[in-house]
Structure formats: C-alpha cells, structure tokens
C-alpha cells in the first residue's frame, strides 16, 4: 500500500516537474511547481517527519509560491506564452541532464555500503525544538541565530531593492 502511494507521489513529482520546466505559459508552470512542492510534502509525511511536512507546506507551498505568483503577475502578460527555444538549442542541455542523471543513478545503485536501519522512531516537534536551541555539543543554536539574522537582513534588503520608484521611461519623458 505504502509502496503504491510512494510510486504515485513519485509520478506526480517527476511529471509535474517536467511540465513545470517545459510549459511555455509561465503562470501554469508556477502552478505545476506548486503541485511538485505539495507532493514533496506528502513524501515527508510518508516518512513520518510530520514537522518537516508541515514546514514544507506552509513555507514552500504557502509562502514562496505566493511570492512567485505575485512576481509572475507583475512581470508577465499571463496570456502571452514565453518565447520558444529552437529544438537545436534544447538538445545539448537534454543530453547533459539525461547523461549525468543516468551516471548518478548508476553510481547510487553500485554503492554497496548502505545498511538499512529498521527502527521505527517518530521525532516529535519537541525534540526538534530542543535540538535547535541547545547550546551543548551537537546543538544548533548558533546556526539558528545566524539564519534569523539572515532572514532579517534579507527582509530589509528586499524592501529596499523592490521599493517603488517611478518608471525609467516616465522619467525620460
């Protein structure tokens, strides 16, 4: 049962990812990306990492996708398709990506050292919070604080960069 569910989720992830990078309508590509992100969160839920799944849903599918949709709406004519690239210029990227993927999968399957651990442990949000704020050995309080400062800096920078000014063309007139 879980195996079938995993394969369905994989099919959704791969299928919509391919659609998302090949669709010529940018708005549709964004929605396909949303489906990929939700299927990935389903994968986290299947691995019993409920907190990760919730974070993926709320931050990625909730926050980042809204940003993307706003950016697409502000910069593109939604009905107008993206300019197409000739098939000749798609061949080389396809060969590079496909060949390297085959190579990587071959390398993964030829590795013998992995021993599966069969332990059913469910990590609670409590444990993650303790670990994130622990300042003992193996604790993550410093990266946590650095990330929080980074987020603050990014917020200020995004506001400063995207602050509305007059259009250049209007200034020229």
């Amino acid at each position: 049962m879980e195996k079938i569910l995993f394969y369905i989720l994989s099919a959704i992830i791969i299928g919509f990812a391919v659609l998302s990078v090949t669709s010529r309508k940018l708005y549709r590509a964004t929605i396909y990306l949303l489906f990929v992100l939700m299927a990935v969160s389903g994968l986290y839920f299947m691995m019993e990492y409920n907190f990760m799944g919730a974070v993926q849903l709320s931050v990625y599918a909730g926050g980042i996708m809204v940003l993307f949709i706003y950016a697409v709406m502000m910069t593109n004519n939604i009905g107008k398709p993206l300019r197409s690239i000739s098939t000749k210029r798609k061949i080389l990227p396809f060969i590079i990506a496909f060949g390297t993927a085959i190579l990587a999968i071959y390398a993964i399957y030829s590795y013998q050292g992995i021993a599966n651990v069969h332990e059913a442990t469910i990590t609670s949000v409590d444990q993650i919070g303790q670990k994130l704020l622990s300042y003992e050995k193996g604790g993550y309080v410093l990266p946590f604080e650095v990330v929080s400062i980074l987020l603050l800096a990014v917020m200020v920078a995004a506001i400063v960069i995207a602050k509305a000014k007059k259009l250049v063309n209007q200034e020229k007139n």
């Binding site: 998302s20 690239i85 993650i128």
Partner: protein, 105 residues
Amino acid sequence: MIEGVSLFEILSLTTVLFFVGIYGFLTRTNLIAMLMSLELMVNAEAINFVAINKYLSPAVLQGQIFSLFIIALAAAETALALAIILHLYRLTENIDVKEVEELKY
C-alpha cells in the same frame, strides 16, 4: 522509513528531480522560470537530507535540521531574487536573460 521502499528508490527520485531542474535551468531564458528550476533542485537536496537521515540513522535529527535550514535559506533567496527581478523589470520592462544587458559590461 517507508514500508517496502528502499533508500535507492528515493535517491533515484531525487536525482531525476535534480536533473529535471538542471535541464530547466539550462533551457529557460525567463528569470522567474530559471528561479523555479532552482527551487526544484533545492527541493531534491532537502528530500535527500531527510531520507538519508530517516534510513541510515533515525535516532539523530541532523538531516531534518539541515533540511529546515535549507528551506529557510531557499525562502530568503527566493524573496531577494524576486525583489531584484522586480526591480530589473521596472528598469528595463524585460526579464529575459537574452535581452537584459544592464549588468553585462
């Protein structure tokens, strides 16, 4: 771990996802579409961290916490990149990498 699914299958899935992202990054010319391919790649990384954590050492939380940091950094990067793209659009009314040459020389 997922019942009946080995680590190899999850790693194959993320590999394919990553290289779909690479293909998109190489073929797209619109800046927002390129950023979306980047998101696919970042997602593949995050799944890798979580899956390896779950399959190889479920008692520790390292992989999960790394994935949390990856998601936070991806959010920050996306917000900043979209701000830059919006500003570029205001300056040039165009976000196609073939035609934008503001920073070229």
